[in-house]
Protein backbone atom coordinates (compact mmCIF):
# COMPACT_ATOMS: atom_id res chain seq x y z
CA UNK A 1 0.00 0.00 0.00
CA UNK A 2 1.39 3.36 -1.02
CA UNK A 3 0.36 6.13 1.35
CA UNK A 4 1.32 9.61 0.17
CA UNK A 5 -0.62 12.79 -0.50
CA UNK A 6 1.46 13.45 -3.63
CA UNK A 7 0.03 11.88 -6.75
CA UNK A 8 3.42 12.11 -8.49
CA UNK A 9 5.13 10.24 -5.66
CA UNK A 10 2.43 7.56 -5.58
CA UNK A 11 2.89 7.16 -9.31
CA UNK A 12 6.66 6.79 -9.02
CA UNK A 13 6.45 4.26 -6.19
CA UNK A 14 3.67 2.32 -7.86
CA UNK A 15 5.77 1.79 -10.96
CA UNK A 16 8.84 0.75 -9.02
CA UNK A 17 6.92 -1.71 -6.88
CA UNK A 18 4.77 -3.04 -9.74
CA UNK A 19 8.01 -3.85 -11.55
CA UNK A 20 8.73 -6.25 -8.69
CA UNK A 21 5.39 -7.98 -9.24
CA UNK A 22 3.63 -6.55 -6.22
CA UNK A 23 -0.04 -5.64 -6.38
CA UNK A 24 -0.52 -2.09 -5.21
CA UNK A 25 -3.16 -0.13 -3.32
CA UNK A 26 -3.01 3.61 -2.77
CA UNK A 27 -4.16 6.04 -0.12
CA UNK A 28 -3.75 9.80 0.11
CA UNK A 29 -3.24 9.99 3.84
CA UNK A 30 -3.05 7.87 6.98
CA UNK A 31 -6.80 7.93 7.61
CA UNK A 32 -7.64 6.71 4.12
CA UNK A 33 -5.13 3.93 4.61
CA UNK A 34 -6.63 2.89 7.93
CA UNK A 35 -10.06 2.89 6.35
CA UNK A 36 -8.77 0.43 3.78
CA UNK A 37 -7.28 -1.72 6.55
CA UNK A 38 -10.60 -1.73 8.37
CA UNK A 39 -12.30 -2.78 5.15
CA UNK A 40 -10.07 -5.85 5.08
CA UNK A 41 -7.45 -4.58 2.67
CA UNK A 42 -4.40 -5.25 4.79
CA UNK A 43 -1.19 -5.22 2.73
CA UNK A 44 2.09 -7.00 3.33
CA UNK A 45 3.98 -3.74 3.05
CA UNK A 46 3.16 -0.05 3.48
CA UNK A 47 5.23 2.72 1.97
CA UNK A 48 4.35 5.67 4.13
CA UNK A 49 4.98 9.37 3.63
CA UNK A 50 5.54 11.38 6.78
CA UNK A 51 3.82 14.70 6.14
CA UNK A 52 0.21 14.20 5.08
CA UNK A 53 -3.03 16.01 5.84
CA UNK A 54 -5.76 14.44 8.03
CA UNK A 55 -3.44 11.78 9.49
CA UNK A 56 0.32 11.88 9.16
CA UNK A 57 2.74 8.99 8.79
CA UNK A 58 3.80 8.92 12.43
CA UNK A 59 0.23 8.62 13.70
CA UNK A 60 -0.58 6.01 11.07
CA UNK A 61 2.40 3.84 11.98
CA UNK A 62 1.64 4.13 15.67
CA UNK A 63 -1.96 3.07 15.10
CA UNK A 64 -1.02 0.11 12.95
CA UNK A 65 1.47 -1.14 15.49
CA UNK A 66 -1.08 -0.82 18.26
CA UNK A 67 -3.46 -3.19 16.50
CA UNK A 68 -2.57 -6.84 17.07
CA UNK A 69 -4.08 -7.96 13.78
CA UNK A 70 -1.90 -5.59 11.83
CA UNK A 71 1.39 -6.02 13.62
CA UNK A 72 3.00 -8.10 10.91
CA UNK A 73 2.50 -5.42 8.29
CA UNK A 74 5.91 -4.15 7.27
CA UNK A 75 6.15 -0.38 7.26
CA UNK A 76 8.68 1.64 5.38
CA UNK A 77 8.75 5.41 5.53
CA UNK A 78 9.62 7.47 2.45
CA UNK A 79 10.02 11.12 3.26
CA UNK A 80 12.08 14.26 2.87
CA UNK A 81 12.41 14.43 6.65
CA UNK A 82 16.03 13.47 7.01
CA UNK A 83 17.02 14.70 10.42
CA UNK A 84 18.53 12.04 12.63
CA UNK A 85 15.93 12.58 15.34
CA UNK A 86 13.13 12.03 12.85
CA UNK A 87 14.54 8.71 11.73
CA UNK A 88 15.00 7.52 15.29
CA UNK A 89 11.45 8.61 16.08
CA UNK A 90 10.05 6.73 13.08
CA UNK A 91 11.94 3.55 13.94
CA UNK A 92 10.81 3.81 17.56
CA UNK A 93 7.19 4.22 16.46
CA UNK A 94 7.37 0.97 14.54
CA UNK A 95 8.74 1.72 11.10
CA UNK A 96 10.89 -1.15 9.86
CA UNK A 97 12.79 0.87 7.33
CA UNK A 98 13.30 4.47 6.29
CA UNK A 99 14.01 5.91 2.84
CA UNK A 100 14.96 9.53 2.35
CA UNK A 101 13.58 11.44 -0.62
CA UNK A 102 14.96 11.80 -3.22
CA UNK A 103 15.57 8.12 -3.78
CA UNK A 104 16.44 6.13 -6.88
CA UNK A 105 14.41 3.07 -7.87
CA UNK A 106 17.41 0.94 -6.92
CA UNK A 107 17.26 2.29 -3.39
CA UNK A 108 13.68 1.12 -2.97
CA UNK A 109 14.50 -2.28 -4.38
CA UNK A 110 17.47 -2.67 -2.07
CA UNK A 111 15.43 -1.69 0.95
CA UNK A 112 12.84 -4.28 0.01
CA UNK A 113 15.61 -6.85 -0.29
CA UNK A 114 16.77 -5.91 3.20
CA UNK A 115 13.22 -6.50 4.40
CA UNK A 116 13.22 -9.93 2.79
CA UNK A 117 10.37 -9.02 0.48
CA UNK A 118 12.26 -9.52 -2.74
CA UNK A 119 14.17 -12.68 -3.56
CA UNK A 120 17.50 -11.50 -4.84
CA UNK A 121 17.49 -13.65 -7.97
CA UNK A 122 14.47 -11.74 -9.21
CA UNK A 123 16.32 -8.48 -9.32
CA UNK A 124 18.37 -7.71 -12.43
Amino acid sequence: MIIDDSRAMRSILRRIVAGLHFETLEAGNGQEALDLFEAGEVPDLCLVDWNMPVMDGYTFITQVRANRDWRCVIKMTATTESEQGQIVKALAAGAHEYVIKPFTPDAIVEKLELLGLVPQEDVA
Binding site: S6, T80, E83, K101
Partner: protein, 154 residues
Protein backbone atom coordinates in the same frame (compact mmCIF):
# COMPACT_ATOMS: atom_id res chain seq x y z
CA UNK B 1 20.63 39.02 9.53
CA UNK B 2 18.65 36.15 8.02
CA UNK B 3 20.15 32.72 8.24
CA UNK B 4 20.58 31.32 4.73
CA UNK B 5 21.44 27.88 3.39
CA UNK B 6 24.78 27.60 1.60
CA UNK B 7 24.33 27.87 -2.14
CA UNK B 8 26.53 24.79 -2.55
CA UNK B 9 24.12 22.85 -0.34
CA UNK B 10 21.12 24.05 -2.36
CA UNK B 11 22.94 22.99 -5.50
CA UNK B 12 23.73 19.58 -4.04
CA UNK B 13 20.08 19.08 -3.11
CA UNK B 14 18.77 20.07 -6.52
CA UNK B 15 21.31 17.86 -8.28
CA UNK B 16 20.41 14.87 -6.13
CA UNK B 17 16.70 15.32 -6.63
CA UNK B 18 17.28 15.72 -10.33
CA UNK B 19 19.50 12.73 -10.84
CA UNK B 20 17.25 10.47 -8.77
CA UNK B 21 14.22 11.15 -10.86
CA UNK B 22 15.51 12.21 -14.23
CA UNK B 23 18.06 9.44 -14.06
CA UNK B 24 21.07 9.39 -16.27
CA UNK B 25 19.35 10.97 -19.24
CA UNK B 26 21.23 14.23 -18.97
CA UNK B 27 22.97 15.84 -16.07
CA UNK B 28 21.67 19.06 -14.57
CA UNK B 29 24.55 21.49 -14.84
CA UNK B 30 25.10 24.81 -13.14
CA UNK B 31 24.99 27.92 -15.27
CA UNK B 32 25.86 31.52 -14.70
CA UNK B 33 22.75 33.65 -14.72
CA UNK B 34 21.95 37.15 -13.58
CA UNK B 35 19.45 37.55 -10.77
CA UNK B 36 16.14 38.92 -11.86
CA UNK B 37 13.50 37.57 -14.14
CA UNK B 38 13.72 33.90 -14.98
CA UNK B 39 14.76 33.63 -18.63
CA UNK B 40 12.22 31.46 -20.38
CA UNK B 41 9.39 32.29 -22.76
CA UNK B 42 7.08 29.75 -21.21
CA UNK B 43 7.67 28.61 -17.67
CA UNK B 44 6.16 26.69 -14.80
CA UNK B 45 6.91 27.52 -11.20
CA UNK B 46 6.09 26.23 -7.77
CA UNK B 47 6.60 27.43 -4.22
CA UNK B 48 6.62 25.85 -0.81
CA UNK B 49 7.03 27.68 2.47
CA UNK B 50 8.90 26.66 5.57
CA UNK B 51 7.81 28.03 8.93
CA UNK B 52 8.74 27.51 12.54
CA UNK B 53 12.37 27.43 13.59
CA UNK B 54 13.20 29.14 10.32
CA UNK B 55 10.91 30.96 7.90
CA UNK B 56 11.50 31.05 4.15
CA UNK B 57 9.97 30.24 0.78
CA UNK B 58 11.58 27.84 -1.67
CA UNK B 59 10.66 28.28 -5.32
CA UNK B 60 11.40 26.28 -8.40
CA UNK B 61 11.16 27.66 -11.95
CA UNK B 62 11.37 25.50 -15.04
CA UNK B 63 10.99 26.30 -18.69
CA UNK B 64 7.97 24.53 -20.18
CA UNK B 65 9.95 21.78 -21.97
CA UNK B 66 11.65 20.83 -18.70
CA UNK B 67 8.35 20.81 -16.84
CA UNK B 68 6.86 18.51 -19.46
CA UNK B 69 9.83 16.12 -19.39
CA UNK B 70 9.67 16.03 -15.63
CA UNK B 71 5.94 15.31 -15.76
CA UNK B 72 6.36 12.53 -18.26
CA UNK B 73 9.07 10.88 -16.13
CA UNK B 74 7.36 11.27 -12.78
CA UNK B 75 3.94 10.16 -13.91
CA UNK B 76 5.13 7.55 -16.35
CA UNK B 77 3.31 9.03 -19.31
CA UNK B 78 4.20 7.55 -22.66
CA UNK B 79 3.30 10.65 -24.62
CA UNK B 80 4.04 14.16 -23.41
CA UNK B 81 0.99 15.36 -25.30
CA UNK B 82 -1.12 13.46 -22.79
CA UNK B 83 0.02 15.78 -19.99
CA UNK B 84 -2.67 18.07 -18.68
CA UNK B 85 -2.28 21.05 -16.36
CA UNK B 86 -3.14 18.90 -13.35
CA UNK B 87 -0.40 16.43 -14.25
CA UNK B 88 2.27 19.11 -14.60
CA UNK B 89 1.08 20.70 -11.36
CA UNK B 90 1.44 17.36 -9.55
CA UNK B 91 4.93 16.77 -10.88
CA UNK B 92 6.32 20.26 -10.38
CA UNK B 93 4.65 20.40 -6.97
CA UNK B 94 6.41 17.22 -5.93
CA UNK B 95 9.72 18.61 -7.20
CA UNK B 96 9.46 21.72 -5.03
CA UNK B 97 8.26 19.56 -2.14
CA UNK B 98 11.41 17.44 -2.31
CA UNK B 99 13.76 20.36 -2.73
CA UNK B 100 11.99 22.37 -0.03
CA UNK B 101 11.90 19.42 2.36
CA UNK B 102 15.61 18.88 2.01
CA UNK B 103 16.39 22.58 2.43
CA UNK B 104 14.23 22.57 5.56
CA UNK B 105 16.30 19.76 7.06
CA UNK B 106 19.44 21.86 6.71
CA UNK B 107 18.10 24.74 8.72
CA UNK B 108 17.15 25.20 12.36
CA UNK B 109 13.96 23.42 13.35
CA UNK B 110 11.44 22.33 14.17
CA UNK B 111 9.63 23.70 11.12
CA UNK B 112 6.78 22.64 8.91
CA UNK B 113 6.59 22.54 5.17
CA UNK B 114 3.48 23.88 3.49
CA UNK B 115 1.71 22.18 0.62
CA UNK B 116 3.16 23.26 -2.72
CA UNK B 117 1.51 25.93 -4.84
CA UNK B 118 2.09 25.62 -8.58
CA UNK B 119 1.55 28.17 -11.35
CA UNK B 120 1.79 28.12 -15.12
CA UNK B 121 4.24 30.99 -15.37
CA UNK B 122 7.46 32.29 -13.80
CA UNK B 123 7.69 33.02 -10.08
CA UNK B 124 7.05 36.43 -8.59
CA UNK B 125 8.09 37.42 -5.10
CA UNK B 126 6.65 40.05 -2.78
CA UNK B 127 8.68 43.26 -2.67
CA UNK B 128 9.47 42.70 1.01
CA UNK B 129 11.11 39.34 0.39
CA UNK B 130 14.87 39.09 -0.12
CA UNK B 131 16.56 36.38 -2.12
CA UNK B 132 18.94 34.57 0.25
CA UNK B 133 20.08 31.73 -1.99
CA UNK B 134 19.74 30.81 -5.64
CA UNK B 135 20.85 28.03 -7.92
CA UNK B 136 20.58 28.41 -11.69
CA UNK B 137 20.98 25.33 -13.78
CA UNK B 138 20.66 24.10 -17.32
CA UNK B 139 19.15 20.78 -18.32
CA UNK B 140 19.10 19.63 -21.92
CA UNK B 141 19.73 23.24 -22.90
CA UNK B 142 16.80 24.57 -20.89
CA UNK B 143 16.91 26.77 -17.78
CA UNK B 144 16.04 25.68 -14.26
CA UNK B 145 16.10 27.89 -11.18
CA UNK B 146 15.72 27.19 -7.49
CA UNK B 147 15.58 30.15 -5.13
CA UNK B 148 15.12 30.71 -1.43
CA UNK B 149 13.49 33.92 -0.23
CA UNK B 150 12.92 35.25 3.24
CA UNK B 151 11.55 38.40 4.86
CA UNK B 152 14.62 40.13 6.30
CA UNK B 153 14.69 40.09 10.08
CA UNK B 154 14.90 43.51 11.79
Amino acid sequence: MTLAPEVTDVQAIVEQVWSSFLGEEEPLLPRLAEPGQFAADEAWSAAVSISGGWDATVTVELSAPVALSLTRTMLGLDDIDDAEDGDVADAVGELVNMVGGNVKSLMPGPSVLSLPAVAAGRAAHPSGAAEIARFDGIWAGEPVRVAVHAIPQP
